[in-house]
């Protein structure tokens, strides 16, 4: 028994990603078609060339017909998957395993979500399985509980920590300002973010990711076939997923300063990829910055910072666009919003651009020396969440 991964057995040969915004004039079908059209063009394949499909959508449709109908697929398998906010990454994970198994030659993962039509100002609540005694708070309030607990545990002045959180948002907005696919494209400084209307605890409106409509897609083949399609594929180094058992709700040992599900997923992913020092081996990371304390804590859970020191690394600019380990170079959930089914694939799209040297010059980072990127999603709340970690690379052993 064991988690062995499929390092270097599957390659990504094409990707597409729509702009993320309020697409009043685009349906779920339109967004899926746009993402697939860009991905197939990028891979040099046509829709009938794809043998099997995985569709990630949390709430924009049920069953594979949600994708088969707009794409007019004929006689093809389509599996619709959902795994909270890691839904897009989960679709890709399944497509990769299908190709690695030998079952199919060419598979596609498509993520799509139309959130703005729901009529809610935030994500419509997921019905988390519970016994009727679960917590009832906004997601922002749930994640805001992390900040005072972190400040207390590590002796950080809460006023100082509040500015560190704002700096995380400011960094992501600075990156997103350079990205034509991002929804919010204005730079925001720390003082401006701190002055925004309060939402919960230390968090202001700009400590919270927005919502958006969007779609993204990736096409995968066996690694040995990749060069038939492209000179610069990305190889799948690791795919890891953890569904927490919710014990953080019952167990007072859970202290609200870390997310064990993310630590476990990262540990498994690093083992699959053979990474021992992620801070120095990864060229970049796209992480799930749903709220600013989330990104802070993730820098420790993913092994980029020592426990209790992520706030200092954030302040020192380690995760800035041209820092030692750039995080959310495309602007993150902060700049894009979070169409649940699409976000994980949107993160991979940024790795696709950056690792292949195709990111626009004003946000391009140097990935030549390291050649590895990480994407991360989480879904749920502190104490009960799911987490995905994927690692992608330009070279193949």
């Amino acid at each position: 028994m064991g988690s062995h991964g499929i390092k270097d057995r599957v390659a990504i040969i094409g990707m597409g990603c729509t702009p993320f915004r309020e697409h009043w004039d685009r349906s779920t079908d339109d967004l899926a078609i746009d993402a697939v059209a860009e991905a197939t063009a990028s891979a040099g394949v046509s829709v009938p060339d794809i043998d099997a499909w995985w569709l990630g959508t949390a709430q924009s449709g049920m069953s594979g017909i949600t994708l088969a109908a707009p794409l007019k697929l004929e006689g093809k398998p389509v599996t619709r998957v959902e795994n909270y906010c890691a839904t897009g990454s989960e679709a890709l994970r399944q497509a990769c395993y299908a190709v690695a198994s030998g079952a199919y030659d060419v598979a596609a993962a498509v993520g799509v979500e139309k959130v703005k039509d729901s009529g809610y100002q935030g994500l419509n609540a997921f019905p988390i399985p519970n016994d009727g005694t679960n917590r009832t708070l906004t997601a922002a309030a749930m994640f805001s509980l992390v900040a005072p607990a972190y400040a207390e545990k590590y002796g950080v002045d809460p006023t100082e920590l509040r500015r560190t959180l704002a700096r995380i948002a400011s960094k992501n907005h600075a990156n997103g300002a350079h990205n034509p696919r991002a929804q919010f494209r204005r730079e925001m400084d720390v003082d401006a973010i701190c002055r925004m209307p309060e939402v919960a605890g230390m968090l202001s409106v700009f400590d919270c990711a927005g919502v958006a409509d969007g779609g993204a897609a990736a096409i995968v083949v066996r690694a040995e076939d990749a060069h038939r399609y492209t000179d610069s594929p990305l190889y799948v180094k690791a795919l890891s997923f953890v569904a927490g058992n919710g014990s953080g709700l019952l167990d007072p040992d859970y202290d609200y300063t870390h997310f064990p599900e993310c630590e476990w997923a990262a540990r498994d992913a690093y083992a699959q990829a053979g990474i021992t020092d992620p801070r120095r081996e990864l060229a970049m990371a796209e992480v799930h910055d749903c709220f600013t304390p989330t990104e802070l804590v993730l820098m420790e859970d993913l092994g980029f910072s020592e426990r209790g020191h992520a706030w200092e690394d954030c302040e020192a600019g380690v995760f800035d666009l041209h820092g030692d380990l750039p995080v959310n170079t495309d602007g993150g959930l902060k700049s894009f919003g979070h169409p649940v089914g699409a976000s994980g694939l949107r993160m991979l799209f940024e790795c696709w651009l950056q690792l292949r040297g195709e990111a626009p010059e004003d946000r391009r980072i140097d990935t030549a020396a390291r050649g590895l990127a990480l994407t991360h999603n989480l879904g749920g709340y502190p104490g009960e969440m799911v987490s995905f970690v994927g690692i992608w690379g330009t070279g193949r052993e």
Binding site: T133, R135, L137, T138, A141, L250
Partner: protein, 148 residues
């Protein structure tokens, strides 16, 4: 006028309004673990047959937030913001509950005490009450607030 709980089975409603209410919890007959709210099967050792016990009424604040955009209070125009805390009971369980006070009133490690607030009056004229924790202002309440 009588006071009645908004939901049976979660907290006591003492006849004497000066008396602190208590939380209705469970204690495992096998391993001794405490739980709130009540449960039949122990979540730690899976023993079937927890005993009813009363917990609190005091606890220590583990972490907290102050919600300016209440999700569930949109139907009540009188509620614009509220505190929520994770309160550790002396028996062990950590309870998430409403807090009494404003955003400057809370500090991690402070002692909290359970009380009841009247939410509305029902058709029979009873005061319908909910539970919440408020900072315990007694002398020395902050002593021993160090975290383990």
């Amino acid at each position: 006028m009588a006071r009645v709980a908004i939901e049976e089975g979660y907290f006591t409603v003492p006849d004497d309004p000066a008396e602190a209410p208590r939380l209705l919890g469970s204690r495992c007959g096998a391993c001794g673990e405490h739980f709130f709210p009540r449960r039949q099967v122990c979540a730690r050792c899976l023993h079937d047959g927890c005993d009813d016990v009363e917990l609190g009424p005091t606890g220590r604040l583990w972490t907290w937030t102050y919600v300016h955009v209440p999700l569930f209070a949109k139907k009540n125009a009188k509620v614009s913001a509220y505190g929520v805390g994770q309160v550790d009971l002396p028996e062990g369980p950590r309870v998430q509950a409403l807090l009494v006070g404003g955003p400057d009133d809370f500090e991690i490690g402070m002692e909290m005490v359970l009380d009841l607030e009247t939410l509305r009056t029902d058709d029979d004229g009873n005061d319908v009450v909910i539970m919440r924790f408020s900072p315990h202002r007694a002398a020395g309440a902050h002593e021993g607030g160090e975290r383990p």
